[in-house]
């Protein structure tokens, strides 16, 4: 459902199913996503982490995913993102009554060498 969002379509983000059946997002590189020459824009990497967090919520059948109320996000940029396909996956750390804590990772060719990680708090109800 996240890939139906106009903003996800603006970035070219699509849902992606891992070999183990878990879902994530994939984002092909394009000139419109470039920051300094040859590198993905940092804000784009942050945005795909955020969309992955919302996709994880949607995967739980969480209604908050349809009208998300983000509280905050913290992004660590670990490596420069190259102009190649990027993947992002998120894991719900705690589905509380009022707040959801989500961790997300973004990687490119090597999943063991992520380019960014993020932590997000999202309000439920």
């Amino acid at each position: 459902m996240i890939d139906r969002a106009p903003y996800a379509q603006l970035l070219g983000v699509r849902e992606w199913i891992d070999a183990d059946g878990s879902t994530g997002l994939v984002m092909p590189a394009s000139v419109a996503l470039e920051g300094r020459l040859g590198f993905l824009y940092g804000g784009v990497i942050g945005s795909v982490l955020e969309l992955a967090c919302l996709a994880a919520l949607a995967g739980e059948g969480e209604v908050a995913a349809e009208r998300p109320r983000p509280i905050n996000i913290t992004i660590d940029f670990l490596r420069g993102g190259l102009m190649v396909e990027s993947y992002a996956q998120a894991r719900i750390v705690r589905l509380g009554k009022r707040v959801v804590n989500v961790d997300a990772t973004c990687w490119q060719s090597d999943r063991e060498s992520p380019i960014a990680t993020g932590r997000m708090h999202i309000l439920r109800a």
Partner: protein
């Protein structure tokens, strides 16, 4: 105004890449701050029906404004990368409204620059987001 001033060079560069996609433009600047803006686009929505604006463009605009604030302060053209970025979403941005981000660079060391940023969608007294971001200079020592 010297044409070779790095901040003037930044301002005069035609938008490209993601800045061009979002329509990010320069608004104002001072000795250690810069304000950038981007007009609303239907592509910013999370849900075309509900008019809910995604927070993604807010992140990208903060990243851009913080980088510009560093150049406003250092007046140096140095390659840099965002180290970390934290955004507090005080409220959802309203559709059809231009987003403004005003970033201040509070300190620069040889390797690292520290910034803070406020985002609003028309009224600076009613902010959409607060952010803090640090950057490091990527060139070899």
């Amino acid at each position: 105004m010297e044409p070779e001033d790095p901040f003037e060079r930044l301002k005069s560069m035609p938008p490209r890449g993601h800045h061009a996609l979002l329509g990010i433009y320069h608004v104002a600047a001072g000795a250690d701050w810069a304000e950038l803006a981007c007009p609303f686009s239907a592509g910013f929505l999370m849900d075309a029906g509900s008019g809910l604006v995604s927070s993604g463009p807010v992140i990208s605009l903060i990243d851009a404004a913080a980088g510009a604030a560093i150049i406003a302060r250092t007046r140096r053209w140095e390659p840099m990368a965002t180290l970390d970025l934290r955004v507090d979403y005080l409220r959802a941005a309203r559709p059809e409204c231009t987003l403004h981000a005003r970033a201040t660079c509070h300190r620069v060391t040889r390797r690292v620059a520290f910034t803070r940023c406020e985002v609003h969608d028309g009224d600076p007294a009613n902010p959409v987001a607060f952010a803090a971001a640090s950057f490091f200079f990527t060139s070899e020592p």
